[in-house]
Symmetry: none
Subunit: 400 residues, 2 copies
């Protein structure tokens, strides 16, 4: 649905909507058992809720398109992921609660190990500890650039964020990460004439940084990618007339919610802490987004058993979510992360919506196969929010 | 499908298409029985026909969007309801067979009761009888406006239609109905500069009307809303190369068919009379639209049992429709009107298409759950006409 139509239809009432996102939810059948992670896992609460709810499968972006975390979440928030694109640098910056300004250019940085000829021999600098990265960032932050303010902030392990602030900056820059070892990092280059001045600033920064890092081990080099400015996006709470809160232990998902204009709540690093945060803030919001990371992490590692366990752990927490008594409770995924793929995939993602106004269907369990019998069918993830609004009685009638 | 493509593909032959629209067809499960109105109703003819036909569910406008009667019908006629929008005033005017001209501005009027301070105390003037409204319209019709011709026509109970005819009129006017009691009707105001002159005419009319109504009880005031001109719409008979007739007992549905350029046939107020009209005019048309209102009316009243009865009454008439021998017989709904909601809803609507060229599917009954197993799946209502044309052999091959 076009967000202008959503804005036009949205009305306020006292209902509550809970969107629980199991990251990387969808899977693929294990070659030996022909059962997917969800089918093999023991998830009695999810299965029972699915039998009582309206189910289906979401297509995150388009048929055959494997989404990154950005598009997968934006679609669930109602944004057409082909229209609203978020650069990696922006995601990383927002994810560490960096106060990004509209004209800032952000990039994701990786420390790496270079040999004496300046060729990359480890693209992750041995995954150095976050504390080491923080110390290196302290050092690099003191570099002075001609005509732009510089921020260098640690993320996790070897990862950091570089932000340039100044007049007339552009994100039309190619990455300096060659995406392989045995060659030197690439020189920063503009992708269009308007990127030239910013490319020069980045070359200036990289050159100074290389001098500061010289002789250090293992992090004696750096690579930058995902140069990006904040996209211009409609504000979720304004479009849907919802007081919207977001709860996510991982930085990137907090960043996505912040980009959409949601209130990002302080929480801990475990799902139990996330749920405690949810309970504590339940009354203050109309809509809450709750993010569960463990399923994706296990899928990314190609660990079928651990992904099963992650799904079972979520299932154990489901009664606590149900007890909150949301008028619309949705269990969704941003994309599939089948252990068989050991990465994101394009496969449609199981979806469940529980409300008083859910229509009965023949889906009696929460997995890829059963959800094919769901009443929503296989539909675009971008329609999740319109369906949530309708089931919450928050959309007015269209036309006379 | 874009109507330009439909126009390009349409060819003529001697087949006949019957589109029977059960208004408000779709429902929701009864909380006690978990069966919807269609599932609970005894509809042997519909079930048998569904088993022999290709079925599915239509999405009237978009996921989560509850349509008014206008968008719901326009979609079934092949018009994108987000592109072609019909204002309330136009619908009401067409529905009483008013001969609306392209530049006319129409508004829906309500008589109301005002207290001595001019504040609304009954927004429907006690739902006065249609005859009383007709007499009041006779009176108001004699008001003379400077620079525009005035029409005031009764609809039903306290409802009437005002039409202004003249040069340079605009429908850019805000409603004068404050949508609540205890306050006076609003003054007519333009929504844009081009609406100023028309707003002045409306204020002139309202002022004169107030004087004529003064002292009358209960209808001593009036409110106007839905100021609208006719939308510019392609002509259905021309787009699809079909001689198209419409049979509807209720004014609004006749109005919608007229807007699409169909020939609206005189008929009686009962479904039996509608069917008699259908039989009498069968030979003269290639396409006939037949409207059945009772299911929606019962759903709007939240009366599950009466909606069941209305569906059963339709079922009893189905053999008479089948006997006509249409090459393509469709049973569709403009939207869902679940008794549980006591109003329109966004839920997809059962759909059935019977023809020699229907492909078999696993749908063995005509209800929301069974139609999920239908061969058409869940699809936009705007595709109903293209499917009808194809099954009637009235669409040429696309491309060499």
């Amino acid at each position: 649905m076009d967000l202008d139509l959503a804005r036009q239809l949205a009305i306020q009432n006292d209902t509550k909507i809970l969107l629980a996102v199991i990251d990387g939810l969808g899977g693929l059948p294990h070659p030996e058992t022909a059962r997917s992670e969800l089918e093999a896992a023991d998830t009695p609460h999810l299965d029972r809720l699915a039998a009582e709810s309206a189910c289906g499968l979401t297509i995150p972006v388009a048929h055959g398109v494997t989404p990154g975390s950005g598009p997968g979440h934006l679609a669930l928030f109602g944004y057409d992921p082909l229209r609203y694109t978020v650069g990696r640098g922006v995601l990383e910056a927002l994810g560490i609660d960096f106060d990004l300004q509209p004209e800032d250019v952000a990039a994701r940085g990786n420390f790496c190990t270079l040999d004496q000829q300046g060729r990359i021999i480890d693209r992750r600098a041995g995954r150095i500890a976050t504390e080491q990265t923080a110390a290196l960032c302290d050092e690099l932050r003191t570099i002075e650039l001609s005509g732009a303010q510089l921020f260098v902030e640690p993320v996790r392990e070897h990862r950091f964020v570089v932000v340039l602030r100044g007049d007339g900056l552009s994100d039309q820059l190619a990455e300096t990460d060659p995406q392989r070892e045995g060659v030197p990092p690439l020189e920063a280059k503009a992708l269009s004439p308007e990127g030239e001045a910013t490319a020069e600033l980045v070359r200036e920064f990289v050159s100074a940084a290389r001098k500061r890092l010289e002789g250090r081990q293992p992090a004696n080099g750096l690579m930058l990618r995902g140069f990006a400015k904040q996209p211009q996006m409609p504000c979720f709470p304004e479009v849907f007339s919802l007081r919207a809160g977001a709860i996510a232990a991982y930085p990137m998902y907090r960043g996505l919610a912040k980009l959409a204009g949601m209130t990002v709540l302080e929480t801990g690093s475990t799902f139990e802490e996330e749920i405690a945060t949810l309970q504590a803030h339940w009354d203050a919001f109309d809509f809450l987004f709750l993010h569960y990371k463990a399923a994706d992490a296990a899928g990314e590692d190609g660990d079928f058993e651990r992904k099963m366990a992650a799904l079972e752990a979520f299932d154990k927490s489901l009664p606590a979510l149900q007890e909150l008594g949301a008028d619309v409770l949705m269990i969704a995924g941003d994309h599939s992360t089948p252990a068989l793929v050991a990465g994101h995939s394009w496969h449609p993602v199981p979806f469940l919506l529980s409300s008083k106004l859910s229509r009965a269907d023949d889906c009696d369990a929460f997995n890829e196969r059963a959800c094919l019998r769901g009443g929503f069918g296989t539909f675009p993830a971008v329609e999740v929010m319109p369906l949530a609004m309708a089931h919450a009685g928050r959309f007015a009638k269209y036309g006379a």
